[in-house]
């Protein structure tokens, strides 16, 4: 767990989590099939471009240019978005971003929002934060829907539900869809086509009725103020064009200088990510357009540890990441352990270098060691991030930090204690717990606690507090543990 508010998914430490994952035969089979399939497709379409190396070189250089002059490009972006009729908000950390988004939604009077899959909103735990404000966020990407219905955690950047097979998904749809809206049809089979159809029907009414949408951004162009979302299913287009209000949460590193710079990234991203020449849908918008799409557009620029990453001259290069997930699919460690073992919304090689920088190395000390340094991730990375170099650099930092650091377990406890010491946070946690909503206590067990308690509850699946208050229960059960 982090003071900065990167959602810590709560693996005790990488080696321990990896051991559990390694024992899961099903998970390994699913993963191997997925990673090899995507890897082969990626190699084939990258090979179609005989200037692949030149594209990578250009991408790396554009990202370096952007990072070294980030303040200027963000100001330019802000000006262009405002000129086009949008609003821009700046968030120093996760809590602030969540507050901004919640306030913007509350101003519309709505209590439900549709969401496009976005790493940034996962990173800050937006859905959970909104839930605490009584706002329900519906994930609309099929994989994210599977994860949400299952109160599960994403395990891959691109295919977050890759650890689930079709039968598991069928059972999940049959059991859970009715609680969230349109129920799954009677006699649903585990044929992916039928499952996708069930998801389509489940979400259709939500799309047509939604007044507010929340998205991330793949790129934002400084000189024109244009924001871009790359997707496959059309759920993104639904969210981007049907609601009246659109709120986009974007890490400050997603800006690119000019419109024509997109020619580099739109060639590299789909090919590196899904192994397609182009993904089915790419949407771009600049502020608002009269008579087409949302009449209100808000862009939230998120720091949340990125400026600290920027300050590290070796680690800075990680901000170039376009979240294609190519490094995951070539990583021998990821292929065997899966994404959950990394304990962060950012798994695999990119997670091993990004997470410790966002949350501080002392908080994710085992991650820089979750690699064989074989270099496959560097070769696969379309923006040429030298992941092995950053790993080695972070390992040295971990060793340094270890001298006076607490273990991750102790840190999780410390963070839980912080919540327990804060009447406001505690009452929020208690209220959430006693509401007994689906998200929390099910069948007498606490699934996942909101906010800062997340990390602690996720690994433990604790018994739900009975009549006694959470604080009393905590005292009895946990107090005194380091």
């Amino acid at each position: 767990m982090s003071d900065r508010g990167v959602v810590w998914l709560g693996s005790p430490s990488f080696p321990e989590a990896a051991r559990t994952a390694l024992a899961d035969q099903q998970l390994r089979t699913n993963l191997r099939r997925a990673t090899t399939t995507i890897r082969d497709k990626r190699l084939a379409v990258a090979a179609e471009l005989d200037d692949w190396e030149e594209l990578r070189t250009a991408a790396e250089a554009i990202k370096r240019r952007t990072a070294r002059h980030l303040d200027r490009y963000l100001l330019q972006l802000e000006e262009a978005v405002i000129a086009a009729g949008g609003s821009v908000h700046w968030a120093g950390d996760a809590a602030e971003a969540n507050r901004i988004v919640a306030a913007l939604i509350q101003a519309t009077g709505e209590r439900e929002v549709v969401k496009i899959k976005s790493m940034a909103t996962q990173e800050i735990g937006l859905n959970e934060a909104l839930a605490r404000e009584g706002i329900t966020a519906y994930e609309t990407d099929l994989a994210e829907l599977i994860v949400q219905l299952g109160e599960d955690r994403p395990s891959h950047i691109l295919v977050p539900a890759i650890h689930k097979n079709r039968t598991e998904i069928r059972d999940l749809f049959a059991a859970e869809m009715a609680h969230w809206g349109e129920p799954a049809p009677e006699g649903l089979s585990d044929d992916p086509r039928e499952l996708a159809e069930a998801a389509r029907r489940h979400l259709r009414k939500k799309f047509l009725a939604a007044k507010v949408a929340v998205s991330g951004a793949n790129f934002a162009v400084a000189d024109t103020g244009t924001v871009t979302v790359v997707e496959s299913e059309g759920n993104g287009r639904m969210c981007l064009s049907l609601p009246e209000t659109l709120i986009t949460v974007m890490g400050i590193e997603k800006v690119v200088p000019t419109w024509s710079d997109l020619e580099v990234f739109l060639q590299l991203l789909p090919r590196s990510s899904t192994g397609e020449r182009m993904n089915p849908y790419t949407s771009t918008w600049t502020g608002v357009t009269e008579g087409d799409g949302p009449s209100q557009f808000h862009l939230v620029l998120l720091d949340n540890g990125r400026t600290d990453t920027l300050a590290d001259t070796v680690g800075r290069q990680v901000l170039a990441c376009i979240r294609c997930s190519a490094c995951l699919n070539v990583c021998p460690v990821f292929e065997r352990t899966g994404g959950h073992a990394y304990g962060s919304v950012y798994p695999g090689p990119i997670g091993a270098v990004l997470t410790p920088q966002l949350v501080g190395v002392e908080q994710a000390a085992s991650l820089p060691f979750a690699s064989t340094l074989c270099g496959a991730c560097y070769d696969a990375c379309p923006v040429k991030i030298d992941i092995p170099e950053v790993l080695a650099h972070l390992r040295a930092e971990v060793v340094e930090a270890k001298r006076h650091a607490l273990s991750p377990e102790a840190l999780a406890m410390k963070a839980a204690a912080t919540v327990l010491d804060s009447p406001r946070l505690l009452s929020a946690a208690q209220k959430a717990a006693s509401l007994g909503g689906r998200v929390l206590a099910r069948e007498g067990r606490i699934g996942r606690l909101p906010g800062p308690l997340h990390g602690w509850s996720d690994t433990r699946d604790s018994p739900a507090p009975p009549a006694e208050s959470f604080r009393t229960w905590w005292r009895k059960n946990r107090e005194g543990t380091p």
């Binding site: 200037d51 240019r65 070294r68 086509r193 759920n235 200088p257 089915p280 790419t282 357009t289």
Partner: protein, 215 residues
């Protein structure tokens, strides 16, 4: 200090190693990549047709005078008869017959009740097999080509750019743009590709050949 000022100050602090006199233009960006991946002599329209079909969209090629007949045949084959019609769609391209054409303005529930839509396009991209809509005349707002389950897009051969760099240069970023490469698709369940989760399940693309006088 506002968060804006705080974040900007943190960025400037983090970039202490960047010399004050350095401007963005001092960070070299070598653009040695190709402007187009077309082979010399390769026909962009041919390649476009091939690559669009690769995404399991159906491609029809038609001489200008045959377009209404080709559209009619496609609609009949798909069993599509109630269609959204964007303003500015050329009347001379519409087939005669008993189909219902619903002109804009349409509400979203009205759109949802229709079988499909026909639109023009702004730009095509040969190498990637992509059509781009910019909400211009004959294309309608973004919802039109999204909500109904079927989309037929008419594109003129001369609108097809060789590759992405050329296409982006032809487009106006101030307009809302939708790049479409095949029908809606997902691979989220065991990586099995399934067409049509939320967007149109079926995409027909009609390429209007350049007439003899034009070429």
């Amino acid at each position: 200090m506002s968060s804006r000022e705080t974040v900007l100050a943190r960025i400037r602090g983090a970039l202490a190693d960047v010399p004050a006199e350095e401007g963005p233009e001092h960070v070299a960006v070598e653009r040695a990549y190709r402007r187009s991946h077309l082979e010399p002599g390769q026909d962009p329209v041919e390649l476009f047709a091939e690559r669009v079909a690769d995404y399991r969209a159906t491609v029809h090629r038609a001489a200008p005078e045959d377009v209404p007949a080709v559209i009619a045949r496609a609609l009949t084959e798909r069993g599509v008869s109630r269609l959204a019609l964007p303003s500015g769609f050329p009347a001379e391209l519409l087939p005669s017959g008993s189909r219902q054409w619903q002109p804009e303005p349409l509400t979203v529930p009205e759109l949802d009740a229709l079988d499909g839509s026909v639109t023009l396009a702004a730009v095509g991209i040969a190498v990637t097999g992509t059509i781009v809509l910019d909400a211009g005349p004959g294309q309608g707002r973004r919802a039109l080509s999204l909500v109904p389950d079927y989309h037929l897009c008419v594109i003129r051969a001369e609108q097809i750019a060789d590759d992405l760099p050329d296409a982006l240069a032809r487009l106006d970023p101030a307009r809302p743009l939708t790049f479409i490469s095949g029908p809606s698709a997902t691979s989220d369940i065991e990586l099995d590709r399934v067409e049509g989760v939320h967007g149109p399940r079926t995409l027909d693309v009609v390429i209007v050949e350049q007439s003899v006088e034009q070429s």
